[in-house]
């Protein structure tokens, strides 16, 4: 029960944060140059068409009134029409979010596996050439933006090796399966199409890896550093003195506590991958939410901008809560603190 109180409290704070975020975004989106109604209907459309849209969007009202209308509709899941796709923003988000989610989840898995794996490898071989090689990789990965990896992967695996497709989520020879979850890998499996599943996975790997490279580098550094710190602790020396095998010492006594900072950062990384994915999505023609958000900003699509940022904000808040719970599960001290303060 105390943990439930902790979750509810965090949810309440998250709602407050989202409310504040919505106000900021609402104001910023409206003070950007250009008339959104004019942008939506085109530069050549007659003025009466612009006026009609301004009326529909309440753009002739004061900002607080506009915000009231927007918030009222948003509470009912109605973010209005996208001025770019001409569809309800909610429909767009439902269509594009799963593509980003699939990409980010796969990138997160790669980041966790790659980052923790390399970190453990580096810590186990501390101060050897393996450690140095992982460190060089980590520094390179941290300072290189994901779109550079995306371009390199397209050139290497697409142009030179012809090993991976460079656009889309499914090959031309396949008809996309019926949308159930919006996650292509899952939907192809649900449709019982193993060949399409393999193809979808084949399309997913390169963009996910490009997106994950920075996180892999980051997590490997943190894991290595955390493990190296804990390696000198008394309880590890005691475990070794008791004759416990090195495998058990590393895996059970050292890795678990060393993962706390890694998991915390990984959670934040996964959440931020949503917002930095747009260039990777552009390069791989991946129909995700980040790319949709970028297009919305370029076209001053007010409704879409506000909704996308709110969704990303909600994802960030949700992941943060999830990370807190995982960390609490990993560390009894944190769990105890959380239950006391709840």
């Amino acid at each position: 029960m105390p943990i439930l109180g902790f979750i509810l409290r965090r949810l309440f704070y998250a709602i407050l944060v989202l409310l504040g975020l919505s106000m900021v975004i609402f104001v910023i989106a409206r003070i950007m140059p250009g008339d959104p109604a004019r942008m939506a209907v085109g530069m050549q459309a007659p003025q009466w068409v612009v006026d009609r849209l301004r009326e529909q969007m309440h753009l002739n009202q004061s900002l607080p009134v506009q915000y009231f209308y927007w918030l009222r509709d948003a509470m009912h899941g109605d973010f209005g029409l996208s001025l770019v796709t001409q569809r309800p923003v909610m429909s767009d988000i439902i269509e594009f979010f799963p593509a980003s989610l699939e990409l980010v989840l796969c990138a997160g898995l790669l980041a966790a596996a790659g980052g923790i794996g390399l970190g453990v490898l580096s810590a186990r071989h501390k101060d050897t050439w393996i450690d140095s090689a992982v460190r060089v990789f980590s520094y390179t990965g941290v300072v290189t933006p994901s779109f550079v990896f995306a371009i390199l992967f397209v050139l290497l695996f697409g142009w030179i090796l012809h090993a991976f497709p460079v656009i889309g989520r499914l090959s031309e020879r396949f008809t996309p399966p019926h949308v159930v979850t919006g996650l292509m890998t899952i939907d192809t499996l649900l449709a019982g199409r193993l060949d399409e599943f393999v193809d979808a996975l084949h399309h997913l790997i390169l963009p996910a890896l490009a997106l994950a490279m920075g996180s892999i580098a980051q997590e490997s550094r943190i894991t290595r550093s955390s493990m190296a710190d804990n390696l000198g602790k008394d309880y590890i020396t005691s475990a070794r003195a008791l004759g416990i095998s090195e495998r058990v010492v590393m895996g059970r006594f050292l890795l678990k506590p060393s993962l706390i900072p890694t998991v915390s950062i990984l959670g934040l990384d996964i959440a931020s991958l949503f917002s930095i994915a747009f260039l990777v999505e552009l390069i791989f023609n991946w129909p995700g939410l980040a790319r949709y958000g970028l297009s919305a900003m370029l076209h001053k699509d007010l409704n879409a901008i506000s909704a996308v940022i709110l969704v990303l904000g909600a994802v960030f808040a949700f992941v943060n809560i999830a990370v807190d719970l995982i960390v609490a599960a990993l560390d009894p001290r944190i769990r105890l603190h959380a239950t006391r303060s709840a």
Binding site: Q44, G158, W159, G168, H202
Partner: protein, 533 residues
């Protein structure tokens, strides 16, 4: 451990190669794949940008079809009669035309499409509807258009009146929507479906990704014997992606938005050519004639003579030419005999000495605003700045986002001395470009930073546009162009050419000058031939 890691990685790459080498579509099929800048809006009453136009011309038929000479040919209308006063056009529809679902075309579908276009008021409605008083179907094969005043642009503008199937649109219309009794007028459904009779129909349309169109085997028109079975318009213009697709032969034609260097690289790929198509777009320096110091004719003439046009054209793709006068050379009615300004520093200094700002140049800098979303414009702005410095004119170059420039040009006070903008004509007719660029009705829009507001010029343009006889009309256009050259309200830099890399196996009529230059028609896929896979 290391060995197994190596084996795993090698297996992954091999599996990847195997998967990638699988045929992309059924063997023997023909496919045309083209990249475009997205979004792509396929509702015929809403879409009007490049990708949208290119899609819609393949999905819908029109009453008339534009030809390469700048005129129109019969299409859904096999013939038409014009009343002596030029105010009534009676169109006779082709028999045996069916929509994609098999429903026969009726004259009432044309009326419905027009009314829908007019009510929604978007897309190309501004081009088609303003001068039309009434449209009626007198029988199932006859449509009558009544005009408010005679117009030379009426017939060519009908290439944008796409005919949609009334019953299908009504069946898919939501009761609630912004168009009163018409609800949403089918706009929601038509975002991802079509209701046309054109040579291709929508097969798949995952938004943000691609539009896949399948051949309409019951189309009434004639296909190129090697016309594609499927047309895939892909929503990406990313340089490295496009180049990889071209190199891997997974793309037939690229978009026109690649960089100069990218086209050079694409041209080096085996079997890839770069087409430089003429266009109806030109690059203008729009000079504000109401703001100091560019309000002085001699000052403007000094700028005309100080600018190095050859250097500017040299920055573009080979084959690009300096503009001759105020409209692109590709438009009917363009006067090729006009005076062309060339760099002549003596003349520039002479004109400057005559200007009211002579001796006060330092206190009267010229502000040039270029569009930040078009990075290439910066090099022209810097060239201009350097050229003007040669005669003592101080130039402040300012980078502004497109939306800010649109806002700035909407009011005289905020309009810069010079706005650098590419402008396209919607129809291949000089009169339309003259109207959109220099008529008072466009002052205060991004299309006219010149603020000419000259009533005499307005009347001349309106009169020319009402003249139905082509020879007389072109003579009037010519006089207007001559007067504009003397007024020097713009620096006419170059006529843009539209660049596309394409596989040499593609039989593309546009590369031979056999298609209309109206936006979208170079991608009329029924005329394009592609090789079998």
């Amino acid at each position: 451990m290391r060995k197994s890691l190596f084996v795993t990685l090698a297996s992954l790459v091999c599996a990847g190669i195997l998967l990638t080498s699988l045929p992309a579509a059924a063997a023997g099929s023909r496919v045309l794949r083209v990249t475009f800048a997205w979004p792509n809006v396929i509702d015929p009453a809403i879409g009007n940008d490049y990708a949208s136009s290119s899609s819609i011309v393949n999905l819908y038929d029109t009453l008339v079809f534009p030809n390469a000479k700048g005129g129109v040919d019969p299409w859904l209308a096999t013939s038409w009669n014009v009343s002596p006063d030029g105010l009534t056009y009676t169109f006779h529809l082709r028999g045996g035309v069916t929509f994609h679902d098999g429903t026969p075309l009726k004259a009432s579908d044309v009326v419905f499409s027009y009314n829908r276009f007019k009510t929604i008021g978007r897309g190309f409605a501004y081009l088609v509807t303003p001068n039309i008083a009434d449209v009626t179907a007198t029988d199932s094969r006859t449509v009558v258009f009544k005009l408010a005043q005679a117009s030379a642009l009426f017939l060519p503008s009908l290439v944008r009146l796409y005919v949609a199937e009334e019953s299908l649109v009504k069946k898919n219309t939501k009761a609630e929507g912004p168009y009163g009794a018409n609800g949403d007028y089918g706009t929601t459904w038509l975002q991802t479906h079509d209701a046309g009779s054109g040579p291709y129909m929508v097969k798949e349309f995952p938004l943000e990704q691609y539009l896949l169109m399948a051949r309409n085997t019951t189309w009434w028109g004639k296909f190129n014997p090697n016309a594609p079975d499927e047309v895939r318009f892909i929503g990406t213009t990313e340089g490295v992606t496009v180049r990889t697709l071209m190199q891997n032969k997974q793309l037939e034609i690229t978009d026109q938005w690649q960089t100069f260097e990218a086209y050079q690289a694409l041209e080096k790929i085996d079997g890839v050519k770069v087409a430089a198509l003429p266009s109806m777009t030109s690059f203008y320096y729009m000079v504000n004639t109401k703001k100091a110091p560019t309000d002085d004719l001699h000052f403007r003439l000094a700028m005309e003579y100080a600018f190095d046009y050859d250097a500017a054209v040299g920055l573009e793709w080979p084959g690009t030419k300096q503009m001759v006068g105020p409209v692109p050379a590709s438009l009917a009615g363009h006067d090729a005999s006009l005076t062309v300004y060339k760099r002549d520093l003596d003349k520039a200094k002479e004109e400057l000495a005559k200007s009211s700002y002579a001796g006060r140049l330092d206190q009267n800098p010229v502000v040039v605003q270029w569009v930040s979303e078009v990075p290439d414009e910066e090099k022209y702005a810097l060239l201009f700045q350097s050229n003007m410095a040669d005669v003592g004119i101080k130039v402040n170059v300012v980078k502004v986002p497109w939306l800010s420039l649109v806002e700035n040009t909407s009011k005289l006070q905020s309009s810069p001395n010079i706005a650098t903008i590419y402008v396209s004509s919607d129809l291949p007719e000089a009169g339309l470009m003259l109207k959109q660029r220099y008529h008072s009705s466009t002052a205060g829009t991004w299309q006219q930073n010149e603020w000419l507001q000259d009533k005499k010029l307005d009347a001349q343009i309106e009169d020319a546009l009402k003249t139905l006889d082509a020879a007389q009309r072109y003579a009037k256009y010519s006089r207007i162009q001559q007067e504009l050259v003397a007024l020097a309200p713009s620096i006419w830099i170059y006529d843009q050419i539209e660049k596309h890399a394409y596989q040499s196996t593609v039989d593309w009529p546009a590369t031979r000058g056999e298609t209309s230059l109206i936006q979208g028609y170079v991608f009329f896929a029924a005329d394009i031939g592609v090789s079998q896979r």
